[in-house]
């Protein structure tokens, strides 16, 4: 089934540890995004990639890094996790970075930093 796969589904992480959230899509979409969902704040854009080989910062990029080595994969790395990064993380993709058509979202990764 075409779509976005995120891993892990959930994770409890000790503060200060490094963590990479994985995201893979099989739709050959050019653009990919990482959002975090927090109660009362909705979905906030962390980082994005308009096409393979390029990345950009969203609304809340601090403490996170991304890479886009190929079309399909867009991992999100927390270099040194802090409790404020406890959140649900969603990866999304869209066919074109230029047009705001509907995104396809993954099922999310629930991360708890303790």
């Amino acid at each position: 089934i075409a779509g976005i796969t995120q891993a892990p589904t959930s994770q409890i992480l000790a503060a200060g540890r490094r963590m990479t959230l994985r995201c893979t899509q099989d739709m050959r979409h050019n653009a990919m995004y990482w959002y975090r969902q927090d109660l009362g704040l909705g979905l906030r854009l962390i980082h994005y990639s308009n096409t393979a080989g390029t990345t950009g910062k969203g609304e809340v990029p601090d403490g996170y890094s991304v890479s886009r080595a190929n079309t399909d994969d867009f991992p999100l790395t927390l270099a040194s996790a802090v409790p404020s990064q406890t959140s649900v993380y969603f990866c999304a993709s869209s066919d074109s970075a230029a047009d705001p058509y509907g995104y396809t979202f993954g099922s999310g990764t629930r991360l708890t930093v303790v």
Partner: protein
């Protein structure tokens, strides 16, 4: 500063009645608006959209209204069904702004509960 705002965290409606979810925005460069629906433990899914050249878009039981002068949009669900119970996110995009076209800015979400 929240550019897209959904000021009602929750809404409860009786089955068969109309549900109205509201969304306000501040950025006048937004020209494309979307509504997403999210069930627990799932990612958001696209529901309906509207561009700024229109003031209404309808898809079955779902209608989105856009009032550009008020920078306000609303989603109407008629009739509401228990399966509509979910969190609804409003999102906006500034497609004409360089390098911003595809990026959606989301509101805080409104949790809709439709009671049988």
């Amino acid at each position: 500063d929240q550019q897209v705002k959904q000021n009602s965290p929750s809404l409860s409606v009786q089955e068969g009645r109309i549900s109205i979810l509201n969304c306000d925005y501040t950025n006048s460069m937004f020209d494309y608006f979307l509504w997403y629906k999210k069930y627990p433990a799932e990612g958001p899914t696209f529901l309906i959209s509207i561009s700024s050249i229109k003031d209404k878009n309808e898809d079955g039981r779902f209608t989105v209204f856009l009032n550009k002068s008020a920078k306000h949009l609303s989603l109407h669900i008629v009739p509401s069904q228990p399966g509509d119970s979910a969190v609804y996110f409003c999102a906006a995009s500034a497609s004409t702004v360089y390098n911003q076209g595809g990026k959606l800015i989301f509101g805080q979400g409104t949790e809709l509960s439709v009671k049988p």
